[in-house]
Subunit: 198 residues, 3 copies
Amino acid sequence: MPILSMLSLLDYAGVAVFAATGALSASRKQLDIIGYLFFGAVTGIGGGTLRDLILGQAPVFWVRDPTYLVITTAAAIAVFLSANRFESRYRLLLWLDAAGLALFCVMGAEKGLAATGSPLLALVTGILTATFGGILRDLLAGEPSVLLRPEIYISAALTGSALFVLSLAFGAAPWLALLSGALVAFLVRGGALKFGWT
Amino acid sequence: MPILSMLSLLDYAGVAVFAATGALSASRKQLDIIGYLFFGAVTGIGGGTLRDLILGQAPVFWVRDPTYLVITTAAAIAVFLSANRFESRYRLLLWLDAAGLALFCVMGAEKGLAATGSPLLALVTGILTATFGGILRDLLAGEPSVLLRPEIYISAALTGSALFVLSLAFGAAPWLALLSGALVAFLVRGGALKFGWT
Amino acid sequence: MPILSMLSLLDYAGVAVFAATGALSASRKQLDIIGYLFFGAVTGIGGGTLRDLILGQAPVFWVRDPTYLVITTAAAIAVFLSANRFESRYRLLLWLDAAGLALFCVMGAEKGLAATGSPLLALVTGILTATFGGILRDLLAGEPSVLLRPEIYISAALTGSALFVLSLAFGAAPWLALLSGALVAFLVRGGALKFGWT
């Protein structure tokens, strides 16, 4: 697969799973369907929006390509139609959030590296893209931030971003660097959720 | 009235009523006069600031035209001098917030449409401009967000923005589209406040 | 000392002390070392980031000069290694926050004045730069905002910014305007902390 298509695909997937966590948050707060759409959009595109603003890339990505809004809308509707089937919506939210974190830490690092050429800034935009959507979601829902839970969270995003940047520096193909960074971030955060790693 | 003057007038009015809700929040928190000014400014110009940043229109509107800061300051002082006369400041806050929401959803949609030409993005900037000032106010004041109240809120902003965009698409004069969108948004949100519509 | 070096020095110092308050917040929440780094960075550079975005100066300052991230990292590590020695970390946080507020209100006003030429906007960017990092820190940590404490807070930032702007207008040398503005802001906020001024 060409690397550009793969980047888009991972990005769309990350937006979809984060949007689903936002919609699950709306579900837990018993909001109406428009509330699902709103929380889905804010959570799905919040991290990338902050990243674009900081890098000076405005108008931001979802203004340039409204496909992203279609994706958050579809994800929010899917959750609206199915959320009541899940026994523990918060548990599901945490696992989807882990998937979104894994996808966004490498995507954010990739965009930061492309824009600035600095590995340090790539780590920062990786972490920021991966965490800010969830931070916004929890702030707006009035829930304790997932940042403050005892298990590993920001460290997983850092690990994934760092592995991506290091793999590239050691000459790995971009697709391999992306996939291995995302996979390791997911394993670290997943281990934290499953085994309570701190 | 020329459409540009009318746009400015509606915009100034929206900033004034949102600034008043911020100042009422400061009053409920027993802040000093500078706290009133701060909460007035953040609430009055917060939504439009986010809109401008996302659309890539920086420096933002109130840096280009400091009249907006004069308006938030005047509204905050007016509340400072009169807030103790109101029996229920929270009730007043909610009604002024409804007026601000109605004015800002059409103004935000108008600016989003002018900047992008996309009706979908116009809905998004309409909702975002109408809600983000109040979200910031509640976050900074440590109050449960008005978003999470059971009655209709975001939907009212969506209705107003959508009516504005549709009216234009069907050839309505801009002033008519603006006024009807704002009026319907206010009626929807006002009905929610008065009759508890959910 | 040339005025540019002095500006950089005050700016770096402000970032360092605000980063330390963020790390203290992470310490109070018993986060891991990565949490210290994250809260240090967000608090140290949050206010200046918002200032740059509003003024249309993107990419923001710490993307242009990553020294700032090195400083927040160093400050966070210093707090990580020493925080358990302090009897009252919250008291220390408040005093460092006062120092950061004093440094940032004049730095923010200086940058706002340089960018816009408007004394009114200089006051606004002064207050915003001085307060927004701490607002973010408290929001993310789920703590009551320092804004809402009864003692003088925003007023101290306003006093410092105003003294800086007025001193310049009356022909004072820039270094004198910077130092006197920062000193008076610190004295006002320090008096509020020490004697409970409201």
